[in-house]
């Protein structure tokens, strides 16, 4: 089966039907997605700024990274689960939405940047753990910061460009209703 077929299958699933008919579940899922996305971004921001030498480089990078990485990954996993649920609700329109595709692309870039940092730049971390970061680590931090800010901006744009493939009750005022 091709990808559009799978997306249609997701749209027609019982879970998708239930989420669409249960609008009480949606604010909870959306809010958890925002909470966990904020935690992912915020914890990565702390690490990226340390790579960029802000507020300084005296504190051990390994220690800072070790303290925060479990929060980043924990929040990321919950963010992915809630994100999948949001996709399931409105899968056909998300699939065709340019902002959604750009967000997925940005997430892949973020993953590649992190992988390269862990496997290449971060391998000699002992040499700069409590001293000035090498330019390759600073570049990784700057790239990560740029990509994650982009992810949040693009994610918000999805809400204003996607539309819905189901009818919204009159008493629910979602983003797309704005200005209409």
């Amino acid at each position: 089966m091709d990808l559009p077929g799978i997306v249609q299958l997701i749209h027609d699933s019982a879970l998708s039907e239930w989420l669409r008919s249960s609008l009480k579940a949606m604010p909870i899922v959306e809010a958890i997605h925002v909470m966990t996305a904020a935690t992912v971004f915020g914890t990565i921001l702390v690490v990226d700024l340390r790579l960029l030498g802000w507020p300084g480089t005296k504190r051990s990078f390994s220690r800072l990274h070790g303290e925060l990485v479990r929060w980043t990954w924990g929040a990321f996993v919950i963010s992915v689960i809630t994100g999948v649920l949001l996709f399931v609700v409105n899968s056909v329109t998300y699939y065709g939405n340019t902002a959604f595709r750009l967000k997925m692309l940005a997430l892949i870039f973020a993953g590649v940047n992190m992988f390269v940092f862990e496997r290449v730049t971060g391998r000699d971390v002992a040499a700069w753990d409590t001293g000035p970061t090498p330019s390759s680590a600073r570049i990784a931090g700057a790239l990560s910061l740029t990509i994650w800010v982009s992810v949040l901006f693009i994610a918000r744009w999805i809400g204003f460009t996607k539309g819905y493939d189901f009818s919204i009750p009159d008493n629910v005022n979602l983003d797309l209703n704005f200005g209409q």
Binding site: K24, M26, M35, G42, V46, A155, R156, F160, F178
Partner: protein, 170 residues
Amino acid sequence: MFLDFARALGGSSLSIWVQSHLWVTPLLQSIHIVMIGVVFVAILMITLRVLGRVGTDETFAAVWNRFSPWMWGGIGVMALTGLVLGIGEPVREASAMSFWLKMSLIVIGILSALAFGRSMRPLAYVGDTQQFSGGAKAVAAGTVVLWLFIIFLGRAIAYDVEVWGSLHLG
């Protein structure tokens, strides 16, 4: 009274400008969400230091001095972006129970952060989590829960009738 004011505000030139430039709301909401990440994680880091989960090689004062400017700066930017967003959709905000609860909890959150910072800032013992009483740890953990609830209420404004039913003010 607030709804009357909101209706009047909705007809103001600034509100109409926000409403008629459709890029303004998504842009401000994006900045607002970036700031949620900054503020929430700044509060989380301070709380985790109180609980002895991060930064125990540093004094509490050092952790507070690093993260509190981000917290206050982020709150300032969120207040500005939130204000313009509210001016753009005043009736939607004023008629939402979630909006008023959110504003009330933000006031409590800011006052508690001010009081907490003032009372805890002098503490400077490296690594010693015993310096914080059980009460201080509970207040710090409660602050994180409070801000999580504020984030929930921000998202719930769009679903006010679904969430609050007859308590919706519109």
